[in-house]
């Protein structure tokens, strides 16, 4: 068993620790969640049916352990379904307005985009996280493993993320391009 745990640790521990921290928990907490994830993987290994990829099963356990940890702490991330389409329309109208954002002094495009990303991250941490994975060059499959979606659903989700982030950053580059 130790050899199996060692092999899994070598390949999965670092990406999992990064995943936990990116999802908003501290370094110490991420080690605790990693430990819990490994315990559950070993405990569940005998019951793993073998249907579907082992990688997907392992990441599912990691996600569940993170959610359990956040629930215990009472810090579950904002539920994305809480923002419905009507709400988004309203948000787009306010945040996409260049005049609305001009009250904040922005020195350069990068600063403007960075401020927009911060605002987006506060409202949609899961989508900001997915955009970071895309920026990092992860494949659709790898992103899907981390968010628990199929490849097709992940592709669609990425397109939605692009659409959702636009109102927060579009005004930064519009003037320059025109």
């Amino acid at each position: 068993m130790d050899a199996g745990v060692k092999a899994l640790y070598k390949t999965a521990a670092q990406p999992m620790l990064a995943f936990f921290v990116y999802k908003g928990i501290s370094a110490d907490e991420s080690k605790d969640v990693l430990q819990e994830t490994f315990i559950k993987i070993v405990r569940g290994a005998s019951t793993f049916s073998g249907d579907g990829a082992a990688k997907a099963w392992i990441w599912q356990i990691a996600r569940n352990c993170l959610i359990d940890h956040q629930r215990k702490k009472g810090s579950v991330a904002i539920n994305e379904t809480a923002v419905n389409d009507d709400h988004w329309e309203a948000l787009e109208q306010t945040t996409a307005d260049p005049n609305a954002s001009s009250c904040v002094p922005i020195g350069s495009i990068d600063e403007c985009v960075s401020a927009g990303l911060d605002a987006f991250n506060r409202l949609e941490p899961e989508r900001a996280f997915v955009l970071m994975l895309q920026m990092d060059g992860l494949s659709i499959e790898e992103i899907g493993l981390r968010i628990g979606r199929t490849m097709a659903a992940t592709k669609e989700y990425l397109s939605q993320c692009k659409k959702k982030v636009q109102p927060f950053i579009a005004h930064c580059t519009e003037l320059l391009v025109s």
Partner: protein
Amino acid sequence: MTHASENEDEHWLKALAGNPDPGGDPKINLQAESLRRALQARKRLLDTEVPIADAGPYQEILFRLRRENFSNSEQPDYGAMAAASVWRGARQYRLENDEDLQAKTATNRGSWLDYKITWGSPLLWALVAAIVLAVWFALT
């Protein structure tokens, strides 16, 4: 989703991942690349918080697995063997020096040690236990 918007999304996402299309829409490239820089800065900041997956967390996981009885089943538990040996020795010594107890436990006898080992010296048992424990420490 239309074919054009699909292409635009793909173009934007590629630029975000650091592979912009040089012949593509400059507006899309500019936006995606500036977002890429912002995300990179954010990631750099977060990466300073990410612990290293070194031997520390690994040993903690192994310790927890062993504590919860997920250790290798093929490997003998030398510690338990040593403890059992000491306990049996003490029990045997007490049995041989206590006739009442001898009578009471006569029906409970069953282990190989109870029948075969008849050493009466606690000093001898302490020596055996010390040797077993030394072997255990050497092996673990």
